[in-house]
């Protein structure tokens, strides 16, 4: 797939949450395009709607109105079971709280997404080992999360996000729970991945972090303001 073609197109998307009697407009007629190989950050204060936008891009939710085209597929009206397929194949998530399964080795944590798409276990383990080597945890694949530092845990999570060769790596405050040294390391991995052609979307409220991306999309009150 050639570079610079658009990977994600969001056009005229709104998201309204019905809270009891009140309708809350979390996103208001948003349009944006992200090209293949781009490193984009989405910034905004809490309550700005950036989390809602991340959920829509991450195929965790569908918009109330508008259209989202991801890698050539319209995902704006899919059912939950179809969305789960898209998530598995197209999105690599990295969460603020790492979200690793406790009492489960790093290796098994990383294989998990592959086991949800009928990849054979042997093949999944092979790929997981390679991914862990890549994030520098080749020596610790059989460690459980509670035996790893925060930075190491987040690297396991990155390996997990990379394993399905998803076109998009979606980070939701990936350094939020880390000390600044570990945070810097994680950002280094992100930039490195970007240099190797990965499309990265970084959602954060930290302006300094957001500035490390190629492009910054600022959100406030459900609207893009730049």
């Amino acid at each position: 797939m050639k570079k610079n073609s658009s990977l994600l197109t969001v056009s005229g998307v709104s998201k309204i949450y019905q809270m009891d009697e009140v309708a809350v407009k979390a996103l208001d007629n948003i349009s944006l395009t992200i090209k293949r190989g781009e490193f984009v950050s989405i910034v905004g204060p809490s309550g700005s709607g950036k989390s809602t936008l991340m959920h829509l891009i991450g195929c965790l939710d569908i918009p109330t109105s508008g259209k989202i085209i991801l890698d050539g597929e319209d995902i704006s009206e899919l059912e939950e079971r179809e969305l789960s397929d898209v998530r598995n194949h197209k999105i690599g998530f990295v969460f603020q709280a790492f979200n690793l399964l406790p009492r489960t080795s790093a290796l098994e944590n990383v294989t998990m997404p592959l086991l949800y798409n009928s990849t054979s276990e042997e093949h999944a383990i092979e790929k997981a080992k390679a991914a862990l080597e890549m994030v520098g945890l080749g020596e610790r694949m059989y460690h459980h999360p509670n035996q790893l530092s925060g930075g190491q845990q987040q690297r396991v999570a990155i390996a997990r996000a990379l394993i399905t060769d998803a076109p998009i790596l979606l980070g939701d405050e990936p350094t939020g729970n880390l000390d600044s040294k570990s945070g810097t390391e994680i950002m280094k991995i992100f930039r490195n991945l970007h240099q190797h052609g990965k499309t990265i979307i970084l959602v954060t409220h930290d302006d300094e972090l957001a500035n490390q991306a190629d492009r910054k999309i600022m959100i406030k009150d459900g609207k893009i303001i730049n």
Binding site: H55, G58, L60, D61, E80, R81, S84, D85, R87, N88, H89, F93, F95, N99, L101, R103, T104, M112, P113, L115, Y116, N117, S118, E121, R160, T164
Partner: protein
């Protein structure tokens, strides 16, 4: 996701909370074990009574005092107790016995019994023993082997000699040995001489022939001061002769007594009625135990609901990584099923083991169908009660689940 991987996940989750998993399964373990145990007691009792009845001899037709309605026997014990009462007001006589012997050609042998109990005393030992007064043909009709000596003869009966054949257990308890032919003992007011000791027959309680004393019927009538018989046993010549024996015996007796003063029954009829009653008892016992299985299932549902709430984040993560709702459903359903099936298997072991243990004191028979039933029901309980929590897990929104702290 392959079934093997799902199984691994489910087993890991169960292992992560070992004591909780065991406690959760305990309801099912107790349920299954008690179903198997109670059914084994019920069917053991049935097997025991069936074999006791068969030990009595084959092709037996009984004439009992009073009116007994076998159909009513199943409905309550009042029919049963009234028949016991009838034994003491019996109108059956020794003459009836002779009449049957002469007038029913299908009969091979016929014996009458006078039943009573009296204190037996020998040296310093004594106990209350069940006494059966009967005729010399008794051992022809009722199977019996001798440890020593033999049964009394027709001459003994006719001349009213005070001789006795004693059961193995009485010989052992009172005389201290089964080889006591010739020993004298007191039964109530009278002195008797032992002429035979029956071989050990086994069995417990009042049904066992080991705990009885047999004396000539003429002596027994004097001993117990009664001229009637408690019961008449007639043995038909072959199994084909049982039905005509029953009808002819009925005819002969009707000429001699009022209809309500006697009842003619054949062995099979009694057997089927008794086993019918015991089947009902077994099912009732099993049913009561099955309720605890239900309670066990509710326990599993309860813990699975807690587990789903506890693991909301895990569910959200799995969904975010691409787990379809049905995969999550299967994962949790599998977990509930393993808990209940595992509990079921342990319960089968406990129930069968417990039944062997109880078997030392009373007859038990582990019914294979109770094992199959308990296992199938416990698996079913796990699946049925696992559905609600598993469905709840599968329907969680990934966003809400991820956000859950």
């Amino acid at each position: 996701m392959s079934f093997k991987s799902l199984l691994k996940i489910a087993i890991r989750a169960i292992k992560a909370n070992k004591s909780r998993s065991l406690l959760t399964s305990l309801g099912v373990i107790i349920g299954v074990a008690s179903v198997i145990l109670l059914v084994s007691v019920g069917s053991g009792l049935k097997d025991y009574i069936t074999s006791e009845m068969q030990d009595m001899g084959s092709n037996l037709v009984m004439v009992m005092p009073g009116e007994i309605d076998l159909d009513k026997l199943g409905a309550g014990s009042s029919a049963m107790s009234s028949s016991f009462a009838a034994m003491s007001t019996s109108k059956l006589k020794l003459e009836d016995l002779n009449a049957l012997k002469q007038q029913v050609p299908y009969i091979e042998e016929v014996v009458g019994l006078v039943m009573g109990s009296a204190p037996i005393r020998y040296q310093n030992e004594s106990k209350i023993a069940q006494v059966l007064g009967t005729t010399a043909d008794y051992t022809e009709v009722r199977k019996g082997e001798f440890e020593s000596g033999g049964f009394f003869t027709e001459a003994d009966v006719n001349s009213g000699r005070k001789v006795a054949v004693i059961g193995y257990k009485i010989a052992d308890e009172i005389f201290g040995s089964p080889y006591v032919v010739g020993e004298k003992f007191k039964l109530g007011e009278y002195r008797y001489t032992v002429i035979g000791v029956m071989a050990e027959a086994g069995g417990q309680g009042s049904m066992s022939p080991d705990d009885k004393i047999y004396i000539p019927i003429t002596v027994a009538q004097r001993q117990f001061n009664q001229d009637h018989l408690g019961i008449i046993f007639a043995q038909a010549k072959s199994s084909d002769d049982v039905a005509p024996t029953v009808s002819m015996t009925q005819e002969v007796m009707e000429r001699r007594l009022d209809k309500e003063d006697f009842t003619v029954l054949d062995q099979k009829e009694i057997l089927s009625t008794v086993s019918g009653i015991l089947n009902t008892l077994t099912i009732a016992l099993g049913g009561i135990a099955a309720i605890s299985l239900l309670v066990g299932g509710i326990g599993i549902m309860n813990i699975m609901l807690v587990s789903v709430t506890e693991r909301t984040q895990e569910i959200g993560l799995r969904k975010a990584l691409g787990a379809k709702p049905e995969v999550i459903l299967t994962q949790f359903l599998l977990e509930a099923t393993i808990l209940s099936v595992g509990g079921g298997l342990i319960g089968i072991l406990v129930g069968a083991g417990g039944s062997l243990l109880i078997g030392i004191f009373m007859p038990t028979t582990v019914a294979w169908w109770s094992i199959v039933l308990a296992f199938v029901v416990s698996a079913g309980v796990g699946i049925i009660f696992g559905v609600t929590p598993a469905k709840k897990a599968s329907e969680l929104s990934p966003i809400e689940a991820l956000r859950h702290e």
